[in-house]
Amino acid sequence: MKRYDLIVIGAGPSGLSAAAEAASKGLRTVVFDENERPGGQLFKQIHKFFGSKEHKAKVRGYNIGKQLLQEAADAGVDVVLNAPVEGLYPDHEVTVRIGDSLRHFKGDAVIAATGASENMAAFKGWTLPGVIGAGAAQTMMNLHGIKPGNKVVMLGSGNVGLVVSYQLLQAGVEVAAVVDALPHVGGYGVHAAKLARTGVPFYLSHTIVEAEGEDRVKGVTIAEIDNKFNFIPGTEKHFDADTICVAVGLSPMSQLLKMAECDVPDDPSKGGQAPRVGAFGETSVKGVFAAGDVSGIEEASSAMIEGRITGLAAAESLGFITKQELEAETAGLENQLASLRRGMFAPGNKGRKITETDEGIALSESLLTQGYVADDEIARFPGVTKQRGIHPVIECTQNIPCNPCQDACRKGCIRIGKDITSLPAVDTDSQCVGCGLCVAACSGQAVFLVDEDYEEGYASVTLPYEFLPLPETGARGTALDRSGAPVCEAEVVEIRTSPAFDHTNLLTMKVPADMAMTARFFRNQKTESEAC
């Protein structure tokens, strides 16, 4: 048997954060993880995160993972991989399978940071090869460089379904449809909008009738459902597809905590059976803590803060820091956590239908039901102004905890204010120089630069572009509107790439002047002919 001050189970965002924090206070800390590589799901997250600077907003997930690994290594944390924890017993006894043997460890404190697993939806044909979890798609394309298929139907419009759909497009996979049984898009509107403008259709109040195929998925039939979840005959729609991705939520993996006899009640607001925890992640069993998704489904940014708080709490429980130090150090973290838990998508608002923003502006109904803000809705949001010369147009229409656009603008054109969830407002007397930093900084790809006086009869629209091949200056193609429908011819007049943009390219296209507030995506002529 080997002893440690602290044993952390799981090397994902919360586990690594907890371990780094505890080790920095002098605890001899080990992290066990069943995977070959550390980082949990962080290294599959290739999008820019929301939040503020403190939450590492606008940094892509995998880069946050690299920073976190470095921090843990610098703090002297021992990370043991290929080491599934098989048992957590009273008195903090931990058994770990390493190679072909089962090893025995004891920690004065234990933090379970075991994360979550994907939920499944059962429909006819759901066991066919080709029906996969959305996380599986993400793992295959972003970790292993393999597309899960050529044409995908996504079931689920929560953030996982939306983000993975976009990543599928980035990997060169066609997304035939995003389908959700709920009547409105579950995830952030900005994530839906960046899909819709490329032409991905949304089918809300729909679900899968059948996955078709003898021994693998060949197609999918969906149909509309009524408010009792019964299919409405005659509403069936068929798609050819070789892959169905299921993104219908996550459940905490709390099995080890149950084994340790922690109180683990069923709590729908936490996504399933999650341990009852105090403010510092302490469970009902002394010395056993929980952090991250296992203690309630949220996202990586909050998991990392929870991990830090719990790591500090473990340090205090063993006398490495005083109660006063714990409270002083966690106060700032608690504030960061609180700011992430605000806005329309806060855990407390789960399942609630919200109709207007904190500013009292009616939400876009079209965004909620079709994935994009309609032309006649967009002008009422404070980021959307009409001005002479180039200026940002911020199509951010829901209160989400995120403010990098404000920090990006050196001219002070963009204002969110103290409250991180406020809608960004564009100064109507803007001093915009068209640097494009706000376009690249927006994790939701909701910022555009518009110049209605670009040329006689023409406007320019600058948009974030994260696909390959990157069109060249002079390329001609079609401009698509927010719904992904072709609206006019467009010519690429500038492509900007910069390390500061972190792989978000800025594509500026010239469109007829009356399309300045309509054209929001560029489709290359060449790619269109290739598709045929």
Binding site: N35, S117, P129, G135, M140, H144, L468
Partner: protein
């Protein structure tokens, strides 16, 4: 072609050297160290096993070693989770029927 050669965010995937392995006796190739399931996927193999009672096909589902849907007989050992087992040169990968690599698995019971 399911292999990504150039990704807009990640660039060219970092992969191991090309190695050969066999799938049900057929020679295939993949990248050393990638999951066996990834190599099979790139070669177009979708069916990893057939269930023992109903003989239904199963393939990759979770891709993180949790669901066990993708298990196969690898180097003579059944129930190997191919999504978390790294590919090596000369690996012998076989479709799993029930818990063996014999197509007639369970026939005698019926």
């Amino acid at each position: 072609m399911l292999r990504i050669t150039e990704h807009p965010i990640l660039g060219a995937p970092e992969k191991g050297r090309r190695v050969e392995f066999t799938f049900d006796g057929r020679t295939m190739s993949g990248c050393e160290g990638e999951p066996v399931a990834a190599a099979l996927k790139a070669e177009g193999v979708m069916i990893h096993r057939y269930t023992s009672k109903r003989h239904e096909p199963r393939g990759i589902f979770c891709a993180i070693g949790r669901c066990t849907d993708c298990v196969m007989v690898v180097d003579g050992v059944p129930n190997i989770r191919t999504c978390v087992t790294p590919l090596h040169e000369g690996m012998d990968v076989r479709t799993q029927y029930g818990v063996t690599d014999r197509k007639d698995f369970g026939e005698e019971a019926r």
